[in-house]
């Protein structure tokens, strides 16, 4: 197959195939890694963080955007929702950082048969992701523990724990479960897995970034800003609210009441919106019947 220098365009069903493939495989692996016991020697844990080689491989062989987003969604569905571990906002950040890191790693590879390039991209993907998630984790404790600065040793211990886990994840999971398998799999799967999907092997061509990506990137940035803003906002609150005076602290309670009111307002608006839409517009369906028993 002649390798084109121009971008490859996929049909929407091919994108869907890549998405489904990446989602189910990485999702399954995530269930296992969630359940593999961790080996701890003191604070250093040898845990299998994730099988990053699966999304990395797929991102390098196929359209990185769809493989990356599919994998991140697979993690949320299989590894979080099905195991009852869905953690709210934190997952959103994981979703964003993970798909971003995988996407970047996928785009770094020009020639899937070049093991060095594949290996460098794989480890880069892990480093990007781990660096982001360590920073966010530190931020979480910083936000969650209200008198973070006043507890002696906490700041240091958080940094140490996160630092260790960063090093562990990069050196242990990163090498064993990202670098080595990816460098082994990508050249081996290249030209073999594509015919199974009915897709032409990519050659040295890059997949098009995709028209959707602009929208996705914008959404991602927006969400990142929101979550960062939330963290910063809450940080200012914690300086006022001491934990033992929380019972009486007027300001703290006031802030809470404001947030409650805001949440209630949002809920009411959304409800009203749905009601309105329901009442408007003629609807001929059998009323109240759910298709799910």
């Amino acid at each position: 197959m002649a390798s084109h220098s121009r971008a490859i365009t996929l049909t929407s069903s091919q994108k869907m195939m890549i998405f489904v493939l990446s989602m189910s495989l990485y999702g399954l692996s995530n269930m296992f890694t969630e359940l593999i016991p961790e080996f701890r020697i003191g604070p250093v844990e040898l845990s299998v963080e994730y099988f990053a080689f699966i999304p990395l491989t797929l991102c390098m062989l196929f359209s990185p955007l769809h493989a990356a987003v599919g994998a991140a969604l697979g993690e949320v569905i299989f590894g979080e929702l099905m195991l009852g571990q869905f953690g709210g906002l934190g997952e959103l950040e994981k979703f964003l950082t993970f798909s971003f890191a995988m996407y970047v790693a996928g785009r770094m590879v020009r020639d899937p048969l070049n093991r060095v390039q594949v290996g460098v991209a794989a480890i880069a993907g892990v480093i990007i992701h781990q660096a982001c998630s360590s920073l966010i984790d530190i931020g979480k404790v910083w936000v969650g523990v209200d008198d973070f600065d006043t507890i002696p040793g906490l700041a240091e211990s958080v940094v140490v724990v996160e630092g260790f886990s960063f090093l562990n994840d990069v050196l242990f999971s990163g090498i064993l479960f990202a670098l080595l398998p990816t460098a082994y799999l990508v050249p081996r799967l290249y030209g073999k897995i594509e015919p199974l999907l009915g897709i032409r092997p990519r050659g040295k061509a890059a997949y098009e970034a995709g028209g959707v990506s602009a929208k996705i990137v914008a959404t991602g940035i927006l969400l990142a800003v929101v979550s960062f803003g939330a963290a910063a906002l809450s940080k200012t609150d914690w300086n006022f609210a001491e934990w033992d005076s929380g019972f009486e602290d007027r300001f703290g309670t006031g802030a809470i009441w404001i947030s409650i009111a805001a949440a209630a307002l949002v809920a009411l608006v959304v409800l009203a919106f749905f009601r309105m839409r329901k009442n408007r517009g003629p609807q001929a369906e059998a009323p109240g019947e759910s298709p799910y028993v």
Binding site: F78, V145, I151, P152
Partner: protein, 269 residues
């Protein structure tokens, strides 16, 4: 050696599969699952965000009690709770030990307890909603709240495909074992066995990738013949899909009950 081997060959895959299936599917008849998914998702949104902004111990404890109660109502499997507790200990326990090491004292346990409470509230709320609700309803709820159709489809497809994937994975792993060689000596702390199984686990994804690729092709082709992509572009289809959702009196009661309880907590706090 026997112990480890039993752990892997008997308990592990079959047992885990069973537990996972229980977790994923065993919730269809819980009382909470009859609520409107949009209401539950909004309810969840509150409990996922607000605890991070709270500092009152009483309020947090009250929220914890509420979410613990709803978790019981949603009849999740004990397995989920065990996984949750292990996760919490892992996340917070080491922080505590380390902060002692860096010169903290028992006093630092209290803020950490609060952190644990916050994490628990968020986790329990998500367990209540996502493990207690029928996956179909979640995916309808998400669709109704404006998420793309492909995401809400993927969610329910994930639940459909999980048993198939698991079965296939077990077969592939078995093929490796039937034709492979396990280490003759378990090694110190069974590290050889652990390494052997970890290697198998990794290698199994090679055939699995190929097999899943083949399957995805049929699946996506079949989706096409059944009008899936047509439906994604067709607003009438979405409207029809969601037409069965409606907010009933019990949803209002649930939301306002929660609101009243939370208000009470804040008043006390």
């Amino acid at each position: 050696m026997q112990l480890v081997r039993n752990w892997f060959s008997r308990i592990s895959l079959e047992r885990i599969q069973l537990e996972l299936m229980n977790t994923a599917y065993g919730s269809g008849h819980a009382s909470l699952s009859r609520l409107d998914p949009r209401c539950l998702l909004l309810w969840y949104l509150f409990f996922a965000i607000v605890p991070w902004f709270l500092s009152s111990f009483v309020v947090l404890a009250g929220l914890f009690l509420l979410t613990a109660a709803t978790t019981v109502l949603s009849r999740v499997t004990p397995f989920v709770i065990v996984v949750l507790c292990l996760g919490l200990i892992g996340q917070v326990g080491w922080l505590f030990v380390l902060s002692l090491f860096f010169g903290g004292d028992v006093g630092s346990a209290l803020p950490l307890l609060k952190l644990t409470l916050k994490l628990s509230v968020v986790s329990l709320a998500s367990i209540t909603v996502f493990s207690g609700m029928d996956p179909e309803k979640i995916s309808d709820g998400l669709l109704a709240l404006g998420l793309p159709a492909s995401i809400s489809f993927s969610l329910s497809y994930g639940y459909r495909i999980l048993p198939v994937l698991f079965e296939e994975f077990r077969n592939v792993l078995l093929s490796y074992r039937l034709r492979g060689q396990s280490p003759e000596r378990p090694g110190f702390l069974y590290w050889r066995m652990a390494a052997y199984y970890l290697k198998l686990l990794t290698m199994a994804f090679f055939p699995l990738m190929l097999a899943t690729a083949k399957r995805s092709r049929t699946t996506v082709e079949a989706l096409e013949t059944r009008g899936f992509s047509y439906g994604m572009r067709n607003p009438a289809s979405k409207k029809l899909k969601l037409s069965h959702l409606r907010v009933a009196a019990r949803d209002i009661a649930f939301l306002s009950g929660t609101a009243a309880y939370v208000a009470l907590l804040f008043w006390i706090g």
